[in-house]
């Protein structure tokens, strides 16, 4: 048995480099298209590189966590979790409490994560219950649930605070004594602004050069070890691309460092990046556990999962709760960078932007990886940064660029959902024909 499967994998792995490239381009047609659009945008925006890199880095570090929260529900077959909005509300409850208690800085940040978690767990459980009752319509349900929760959230913060919930803090409550203020400043002495970003910062290109060198080395060592063991099983193409990418990262960073350009002033918030990296690792590692396999089985086919003894509803609930908690934390990371909490606005568009990002990275309703999430964040936010300026230079109107990016975020979701539905229908038809 083992031999046969070994032979099989060897066969599969031995694909010529040309077909590999073709398949890569096909699988990544969406990201490739948007890489081209982004490059055009960058060119026509005529913005200085330092500005783009700096803004992009800020946006990547503050948004990636939220987008990574989308991965698990997709694998568990719940589709794109529009309920991120609900998690974000939990995060904002945490921020409000911490601001009320006047705990600032890094302890405040940790406290915020801790306090928002129970809210997020409860919200996640409620959303999961709803989604388990609306199987097959999860995405629209989670979206409407987000709208509904937004109403409830406003009701609590605008009308219950000061009447039923006795908070008298003048920093938070409106002057009439009822309701939380529209904007809450997090830059005060006890504020959360940069509470994790500022923990440890280091020039970006030094770090990138280091990462490039280390990954390059790992790839080479890995290749040597593997080819000694079983040379025919090695997919050369994979190693070459990996080596080229790490070499390129190393080369570019070294060039930047040597040339002494302005780009050297760009610093990376290391602690935030580490959090994102941990989440990435979590998303990868959980798939190697029993629970991760359950996610995959349930996501693949609920009936088969049920027959093979997996508790479908429970598995889906766990995926939703994890995603909601991560969304809450992601919102805290997002807002500590922004520095002001717009009580009734910060969370509203969060799911749309996160979902548009992951789709731009090449994910679909049924398949998503953390890598796609990060690539998508980079593309989406590049588009965000350059499109007003590019619109201005190309059409003489910055508005057109802004409208274009709004259209892209809705349009890409629409197209992805449409394609998914179409695909699902074709598969259903095929199954009918088979039976």
């Amino acid at each position: 048995m083992a031999q046969i499967s070994n032979e099989k994998t060897a066969k599969i792995n031995k694909i010529s480099t040309a077909t590999s490239i073709k398949r890569l381009l096909f699988d990544y047609s969406v990201p490739v298209l948007f890489i081209i659009i982004c490059l055009i945008g960058v060119y026509f925006s005529k913005l200085p590189a330092v500005f783009i890199v700096n803004t992009l880095l800020t946006r990547i570090t503050r948004n990636s966590f939220m987008v990574l929260a989308l991965v698990l529900p997709v694998i568990a077959g719940l589709g794109l979790n529009f309920g991120l909005v609900i998690g974000a509300m939990a995060g904002q409850f945490g921020i409000l409490i911490v601001t009320h208690l006047k705990i600032g800085g890094f302890p405040g940040f940790l406290m915020c994560l801790l306090l928002s978690t129970p809210f997020a767990v409860i919200f996640g459980l409620m959303t999961a219950r709803l989604l388990n009752r609306t199987k097959g319509q999860e995405m629209i349900s989670s979206m409407i649930a987000g709208f509904f929760a937004n109403g409830a959230y406003q009701f609590i913060l605008l009308f219950l605070v000061g009447t039923l919930i006795p908070i008298k803090n003048p920093d938070l409550v409106l002057t009439r004594g009822i309701g939380i203020k529209n904007t809450i400043d997090l830059t005060t002495e006890y504020g959360l602004k940069y509470s994790i970003d500022a923990v440890f910062q280091y020039p970006l290109f030094y770090i990138l050069a280091g990462i490039g060198a280390v990954t390059g080395l790992i790839v080479i060592i890995d290749y040597i070890l593997k080819s000694k063991k079983a040379p025919e099983q090695v997919d050369k193409f994979k190693y070459i691309t990996r080596l080229v990418i790490s070499g390129a990262i190393l080369g570019v960073s070294l060039w930047v460092v040597m040339s002494g350009s302005m780009l050297n002033t760009v610093t990376l918030p290391v602690a935030t990046t580490v959090m994102i990296a941990i989440l990435w690792a979590f998303n990868v590692l959980i798939m190697k556990t029993k629970l991760g396999q359950d996610f995959r089985t349930v996501g693949h086919n609920m009936d088969i999962a049920k027959v093979s003894g997996v508790n479908v509803d429970k598995t889906r609930t766990i995926a939703m709760v994890i995603s909601t908690v991560l969304a809450a934390w992601g919102q805290v990371i997002f807002l500590q960078n922004i520095g002001t909490l717009s009580t009734y606005g910060s969370h509203v568009q969060i799911a749309t932007f996160a979902i548009a990002s992951i789709l731009l990275g090449g994910a679909s309703v049924t398949k998503a990886t953390s890598g796609q999430a990060i690539l998508g964040v980079i593309l989406f936010h590049t588009l965000f940064i350059v499109s007003p300026k590019a619109g201005n230079n190309l059409f003489g109107d910055a508005q057109i660029g802004e409208f274009f990016r709004a259209f892209v975020s809705y349009g890409v979701i629409g197209v992805a959902l449409g394609l998914h539905a179409w695909n699902k229908r074709i598969q259903a038809l095929r199954r009918q024909l088979d039976v």
């Binding site: 097959g136 109403g151 009701f155 349009g411 179409w422």
Partner: protein, 345 residues
């Protein structure tokens, strides 16, 4: 008791109770009755046609038309073209009739294309519809800036593109409301508006009694059975979508007319949701709807929201309680309907 609740439907019961409670508090707060009643009637007629657009789409089996913004955009374009070209004479209802006539072919065409799309994605209509609507609205934002409209009342005096709201004062604003309008005591009855709304309802009802209407209903109610009986299901779904889009286009013109402004840019983005909520409150489900659901639902939902504004303002002068109430009720009812879909399949 349980039977009674089941017959009326839990959500309808809750909303009715809420409506009654708000009405009572309006009386207790001594709010001017005449003004409130006039407002309720006006909003009833104003939103009614938009809610009516849900009927053909639910009957033909594509579910509530969350892509109503497609029809809305057609209606807005029709009105803008009518005003731009100057078809606003008295004989043309100061532009109302011409707006409807111009938007009809647009709506038929887009409805047809959209109907074909819906046939490709059976089973996920609601979600795809929502995002189709969002995409069209955000795409038309570019359109409102770049389309070559020149009429000074519509474009910004400085800069490019159409205004965010285009006033209809000099054209067909309130023209239906004033048609045969009269006052009973302090309550203003916008006869033309109501007649038009009831006329539309009657037309849809008559259509559903006709041969093609029955066919469409059969195709929606049980596609497999209908196909076996020789009915072309896909064609009927397209027909329903076209009708829904057309009614949506007419609906937004009636809405704008009564409102006094055409609202462009992001305004149509969420307009499908109150319309969907209205028919659901009236007792419809995502698979079944009657004209009476439209009438009852629009009256309850819009009436409740209209009266809630002054009541809420008396209780909480700041903060928009009635807007929050709208969000909770509107999305709560849609969620409730969605859980029922899941239960069936």
């Amino acid at each position: 008791m349980n039977k009674f609740i089941k017959k009326i439907g839990l959500p309808r019961l809750i909303i009715t109770l809420l409506f009654v409670a708000i009405c009572i508090s309006a009386v207790v707060l001594k709010l001017p009755f005449g003004m409130l009643a006039s407002d309720v009637i006006r909003r009833f007629g104003m939103f009614g046609v938009l809610a009516l657009a849900m009927v053909p789409s639910i009957q033909c089996g594509t579910g509530p038309n969350f892509a109503l913004p497609i029809g809305i955009i057609c209606g807005l374009l029709g009105s803008l073209i009518a005003i731009e070209v100057g078809l606003t004479s008295k004989a043309l209802g100061y532009g109302f009739i011409s707006s409807v006539l111009i938007s009809l072919p647009l709506a038929v065409l887009t409805g047809w294309v959209y109907g074909l799309l819906l046939n490709k994605i059976k089973g996920s209509e609601m979600l795809v519809a929502t995002y189709t609507g969002f995409s069209i609205v955000s795409f038309m934002q570019i359109g409102w800036v770049t389309l070559p409209f020149r009429h000074p009342e519509m474009i910004w005096p400085i800069g490019r593109g159409l205004r965010v709201t285009v006033s209809l004062d000099s054209t067909f604003g309130e023209v239906l409301n004033r048609f045969w309008g009269f006052k009973i005591g302090s309550v203003y009855i916008p006869t033309g508006l109501l007649l038009f709304f009831f006329g539309c309802c009657a037309a849809v009802w008559l259509f559903s009694r006709s041969k093609s209407g029955t066919e469409m209903y059969a195709a929606g109610a049980n596609p497999k059975f209908a196909a076996a009986a020789g009915i072309n299901v896909d064609k009927n779904r397209v027909l329903g979508t076209i009708l829904s889009t057309v009614i949506g286009a007419v609906g937004i013109i009636v809405y704008s007319l009564s409102f006094g402004y055409l609202q462009l840019y992001l305004a149509p983005l969420y307009m499908a949701f109150p319309a969907v909520a209205a028919v659901l409150i009236g007792g419809a489900s995502t698979r079944k709807v009657k004209i009476s659901h439209v009438l009852i639902g629009t009256f309850l939902f819009q009436g409740m929201l209209t009266i809630a504004v002054p009541v809420a303002n008396q209780m909480f002068p700041e903060g928009n309680l009635s807007e929050v109430l709208r969000q909770i009720v509107q999305n709560g009812i849609i969620l409730y309907a969605l859980t029922k879909v899941g239960g069936e399949s």
